[in-house]
Amino acid sequence: MTGKLVGQPIRRVEDPRLLTGHGRYLDDLGFDAAEVAVVRSPYAHARILDIDVSAALDVPGLLAIYTYEDLPGPLAEPLPLLIPHPALTHGRTQYALARDEVNYAGEAVVLVVAENRYLAEDAADRIAVEYEPLPPVVGVAAARAAERLVHQDVPGNVAARLAQEVGDAAAAIAAAPHRLRLDLSVERSASMPLEGRGVLARWDADANRLRLWTSTQTSTGVRAAVATKLGLEPGQVEVITPDVGGGFGVKIVHPWPEEVLVPFAARNLNRAVKFTEDRREHFISAAHERGQLQQIEVGFDDDGQILGLDVRFWHDNGAYIPYGLIVPIITSTQLLGPYKVANYRVVFDSLYTNTVIVTPYRGAGRPQGVYAMERTMDAIAAELGLDRAGVRAVNFIQPEEMPYDHGLIFQDGRPLVYDSGDYPALLAKLKALVDWDGWLEYQAAARAQGRRVGLGIACYVEGTGVGPYEGGHVLIDTSGRVKVATGLTSQGQGHQTAFAQIVADELGVPLADVEVTTGDTRRFPYAVGTFASRAAVMSGSAIALAARAAKAKILRVAAEALEADEGDLEIVAGQVQVKGAPATGIGLGTVAVLANPLRYAFDEASKAATQFAVGDPDAAPVPEDDEPGLEGRDYYSPIRSTFAAGMHAVVVETDPDTAEIRVLRYCVVHDCGTLINPMIVEGQVHGGVAQGVGGALYERMAYDSDGQLQNASFMDFLMPYVSEVPAGIEIDHLQTPSPLNPLGVKGAGEAGVIPSAAVFASAISDAEGFPITAMPISPSELFELRRRAAPPTEGDRS
């Protein structure tokens, strides 16, 4: 492979459409569709006593009202528990519409269908639901105390308890010359894409088929789930993912109640039906992440090398657990980061609360794990009076120890084995980038001027490209254009560009001749989805393999036509030619014509392919072991994940009076293996860093003790504007190709956000001189910590 386009900052082919208002997002489709509104529970925990819809019946434009009682067959069963696990002994999922009981404020109770959303909301407002409120469980501490239960049949609110251990952590800690204990907490945030959830369904009564468009991260997952819930065969259901206005994890959950209710209504009414979520609904009925309490015990030697690590944490999974234990399993395994910990024990409880469900949000449990480990590293350095980077370095896995087996089981059920990486080199790059060695001098100079500045550091390793598989299909049509399809979906990652770069290089065709389709079950019915920084690794690899298969056929067909040896041929700018002899060339379109012998001609090109025009009259038109058409299909299914890594440093300044926290510099070094498109990768890092700044300093889900989300709007949930993000993000790359896939790539999508809570806690601790153990942190919380750290003496300003 010549690699002409892979590695280049190619401008995105998606952009002209999106820049001119011609994107097609979910709510841009289905102008003829009826629309739904959902009556949602106003209580966090209540019994439903009665639902009275009579006042809604005379609302003009009303088409239907559905409650739990109206749901037939599998639709009346709880929604699926998508990822079962032996430790998930008390898995509970919600009903598409609440049955008898609600367990979070926002849970769907009644579905209203009307001619448009305004009228549907009119009707929804007139539906009276009578509730008997029950005491809610809010927050991890309350769930753990278990004085009240979310589900009466789940003792202690414990959905799952999972323990893993390598070595003997307790004995190693007991024997260690130094020991520390940390109590940490992280609050909830959420993916919060600018486009909420949405689904459009068309039932074709003549063909007995359902066509569904949904703003999802997995079209094949939705297809299987909807078919099951509606009693259809998968072949009767097509799922198409239109342009998706951001996902960040929340749209991997499926099926949402609305994703099964909308097609149910469409079939019932024989009418297109659409759900477009509003922002308040997204806050109270989509999904959140991050909330954990953590207790860490660590034993270490005089150099700061960890001898034993014992981690106990409590994970808030919300009211139900449809996505299983993925988030806490990732926390418990990825916590180890780039470090060797010979004796490690981790135990977590995944706990129910009467709040919105918790499912992966960009980072997916890694930010919490990295926070636990990096707070520990800083604590060790402080205890021993050692350099924080130095303590990290003595614990690093060395490049020559790769592949490195931690002796644990990862989220995919496979051994946690790092494939490659060079952590000392990353640290050296980061120290150079941020001028680590000049820091103490800088800090002293700033302090002399009355300024408080702090430098934070955090390191992480990220398992990316998790299985089981993805596939790719590459088809060359008779015009010579290359049509590529893969089943996973896109939410802004520039897949149409990056995948086209791969195919253009593999086939030797111009980028403009390659068209990529993602997330459409009609084009590629086998797929998993877009999550865990896996698209470039999984579909990128599958598409490369599919392109190689197509190329082999191109050369085989062309060799026959040109009466040349396959090995003497090359493809240059869409022409197959004898190497170095452009005059011999035939276009890929012609090769495609030759690959499909025809009986019927319908245009000039096809005339050339009829059975009277081509082929050896003594051979079968399509030889045995071959098939008509010029295409390649292949799958990529790695043994295990590939592990990207990175290290961030941030310089903050805290206001001595107001405790305002300002970012002076933000530095990222990152290793995601081979870069397909560095412009896109840097864009991913920028976006992740901004989300990380939000999660570390601004964003939290402010539930009150009744389980009401008090800040369920963009006015009150403080997502960063440009004014909150650093004016520059300094990035350096290391490229350690993965040995596990044909491109050497590792995932990049989540890297920017993973170490944020850790790196900001580290920097603020450095500025203030006391540990930061609860994130996110606001100025008023920092102010309070200062007061506690140094109680005001008489004469101080109040």
């Binding site: 900052p9 401008r11 995105r12 998606e14 952009d15 002209p16 999106l18 820049l19 001119t20 208002g21 011609h22 994107g23 097609r24 997002y25 709510d27 841009d28 102008f31 005379d58 609302v59 003009p60 448009n116 305004y118 009119d122 919060m192 894409p193 600018l194 486009e195 342009d243 998706v244 206005g245 951001g246 960040f248 509003d278 922002r279 939410q491 802004g492 990652q493 520039g494 412009m679 896109i680 840097e682 864009g683 920028h686 976006g687 992740g688 860093v689 901004a690 989300q691 709007s713 963009f714 006015m715 997502m719 504007y721 440009v722 004014s723 993000v725 004016a727 520059g728 993000i729 920017g752």
Partner: protein
């Protein structure tokens, strides 16, 4: 319970439309669902995210906070109206493509309209002014770095075009 409707005239991207709309119809819904101009996006429905920003008589306004009847007689420019009559991308649109200032593209139309109006007011913004110019729009994908760069690049392209 029948809704009161009013006849209004909106000139959208230089094309006049006569419409009968319910008085409660939001301008954003009118553009999207009545005129099928779906480039204007709705991200929060309460004027915070800026995705729905359109130009009303040249000024950026949040179409999710306006009733369609309240802008009767106005000239409105949506993202569909930013490119030239020949389809050539405007300087702001070109700058966004050059600088990779969009990812999912959902918030982008609101940035494009806001920046178009902002550069008309201040054709040569400093980096700080560029940040200020986009300070009321939310983007969840890009971290804003490349959007700020695109504002500055768009200003250059405008000057070259002038």
């Amino acid at each position: 319970m029948s809704e009161q409707s009013i006849e209004i005239t909106l000139t959208v991207n230089d094309i006049p439309h006569r419409l009968t709309v319910p008085v409660r119809r939001l301008l954003s819904d009118c553009l999207r669902h009545d005129l099928h101009l779906t480039g204007t996006h709705v991200g929060c429905e309460h004027g915070v995210c800026g995705a729905c920003t359109v130009l009303v008589d040249g000024r950026p306004m949040r179409s999710c906070l306006l009733l369609a009847v309240s802008v009767d007689g106005s000239a409105i420019t949506t993202v569909e109206g930013l490119a030239g009559p020949d389809g050539a991308l405007s300087p702001v649109q070109r700058a966004f493509a050059e600088c990779h200032a969009l990812q999912c593209g959902f918030c982008t139309p609101g940035f494009l309209t806001t920046i178009t109006a902002g550069l008309a007011d201040n054709p040569d913004p400093s980096p700080d002014q560029a940040r200020e110019l986009i300070g009321g729009n939310l983007c969840r994908c890009t971290g804003y770095q490349n959007i700020v760069a695109a504002v500055l690049r768009a200003a250059e392209l405008r000057r070259e075009q002038a």
